[in-house]
Amino acid sequence: MQLSGRDGFGRALLELGETNEKVVALCADLAESIRVHYFAEKYPQRYFQIGIAEQDLIGTAAGLALTGFIPFATTYAVFAAQRANEQIRLAACYNNANVKIAVSHGGLTCGEDGASHQALEDIASMRVMPNMTVIVPADAEEAYEATKAAAEVYGPVYLRLGRTPVPVHTQGFGSFEIGKARKLRDGSDVTLIAAGVMVDKAIQASELLAQEGIKASVINMHTIKPIDTDTIIREAQTTGCIVTAEEHSIIGGLGGAVAEVLSESIPVPLVRVGTKDTFGESGEPEALLTKYGLAASDIVAAARKAISMKKS
């Protein structure tokens, strides 16, 4: 049975309850959806329901952090990153408080709830915050690892978890380390840098490209901030062109972050796969990814384009 990022988070948080007495959890009326209900059931004294009040959620979490705890404040991506943006900025980041903002339903795969609930701008608005670490795990196993790592590192962390089940591609490629991308496939013609559910699409794309004789390397850039500049530069040197793929706008997210690194160090062709400055809509997750240009075939097309830009 395939699991989702939020499943991995829920499992990790429950274990953290056992191993780390400083870990507490907060929720804004979405306990089961974020999978924090397991923790809530086992550690009711360390769980705080704040109700539908996300700005209060973040502030209260900051207060807990400032008394020495490691709070995981949970809600949907849009409600944390957008509605509580200023609270994250001041109470978490400017205080450099040890608040972990674990959000589910990032991206189009949020599905039928539609555009209002599909966060496509959150990576951009979180990575621009000083002191913030931004992690987008690819699957349930990586979400589990990332949650544990987030509890270990000091400072604000934005952990963007997926709603939908995805195949696990990330295991067997070394241990999880914040800020260190995982290379999942080797290649010399083009580098596919993906995060979250798009890692699975990138793997599929690399297999499709292989059938055309194009050797694509696949990089799982789970940490958007601090981004693994060494890997980006090394890949650019090796393959000479990059494709980024994210469940987010092509503006300001993973694509933006990679563009920043490339243009200052090694300007090679870059093609960004993501939503094209648009809101989403209701639909089934896979259908939405296809409609909005986030299918494996879109990554394939982007790769061909990037390669052609290399030659000209």
Binding site: I50, G51, A53, Q55, G59, T60, G63, L90, N95, N96
Partner: protein, 279 residues
């Protein structure tokens, strides 16, 4: 506990500091002067805190949510011994630890950064919840402006404190009916204040925010309440004691000139607690 007269001298010292600091730098004098009496009672008579050990776990905490009146907080912290009194002169200057709005990472004694209004009470609530988990029986005092309670987040936090019966929490509202664009009742009416808090399950007390006896009595009552959070609705006057500042919105954020400062210091009168800063 210090005598009322001693607190009066300290409050006067804080007001003198505020006038001196803001007139030599920039800043927000009016509300800071209006808060001096309450801050003096808290820092010098009531709160369990140790300037030499700002992080001591069981300390009482003061969250200044309306961070713009930080000149008063900085004065209280310096005059208590958290940092050298001379350093007060650096308010708002580049590279200073005394930022224009409080910065937790910079200055010992600042419990949280603040400035953007409406955020402090949520943070204060979190501190109470954290203390409870550690079985620490400490108080958390949160100070807000009256205009500030126009912010929606305040009411989220008020609801949370009521729901969790955070009796260790004391909210103080500086009710001076002044905000930047005019009188609060004209800009966006917030009354009836006490009724609102009662509806959210709070204990409510209303006092003259410049009457030191009433301030003390209100905090004494707060310490006895064990059923619900408490709000002290303190009637204050912006720029209290300075004739040209009282009741005038412009003194929210305008620093007095050096000449105006001289007049203010005359009117406020001398303080036997500590010395004037020398510039």
């Amino acid at each position: 506990m210090k005598s009322i007269n001693e607190i009066k001298e300290i409050s006067t010292r804080i007001k003198r500091d505020v006038i001196q600091l803001t007139s030599h730098n920039t800043g927000h004098p009016g509300g800071a002067i209006g808060a001096a009496d309450i801050i003096a009672e808290l820092y010098f008579s009531r709160m369990n805190h140790d300037p030499k050990n700002p992080d001591k776990e069981d300390r009482d905490r003061f969250v200044l949510s309306n961070g713009h009146i930080c000149a008063a907080l900085y004065s209280a912290l310096a005059r208590s011994g958290y940092f050298p009194i001379e350093e007060l002169k650096t308010l708002r200057k580049i590279n200073s630890r005394l930022q224009g709005h409080p910065s937790r990472k910079d200055l010992p004694g600042v419990e949280t950064s603040s400035g953007p209004l409406g955020q402090g009470l949520s943070i204060a609530n979190g501190m109470v919840l954290g203390n409870r988990l550690k079985n620490i029986n400490a108080k958390v005092y949160c100070f807000v402006g009256d205009g500030e309670i126009q912010e929606g987040q305040i009411w989220e936090a008020v609801m949370t404190a009521g729901h969790y019966k955070l009796h260790e929490l004391c909210l103080i509202i500086s009710w001076n009916d002044i905000q930047i664009d005019g009188r609060v009742k004209d800009v966006m009416n917030i009354e009836p204040i006490a009724d609102k808090f009662k509806a959210f399950g709070w204990n409510t007390l209303e006092i003259d925010g410049h009457n030191l006896h009433q301030i003390r009595a209100a905090f004494d009552l707060f310490e006895q309440f064990d059923n619900a959070p408490t709000v002290i609705i303190a009637r204050t006057v912006i720029g209290k004691g300075v004739s040209y500042m009282e009741h005038k919105p412009v003194w929210h954020g305008k620093a007095p000139s050096l000449e105006e400062a001289e007049v203010a210091l005359q009117e406020i009168g001398p303080s036997s607690f500590g010395e004037d800063l020398v510039f």
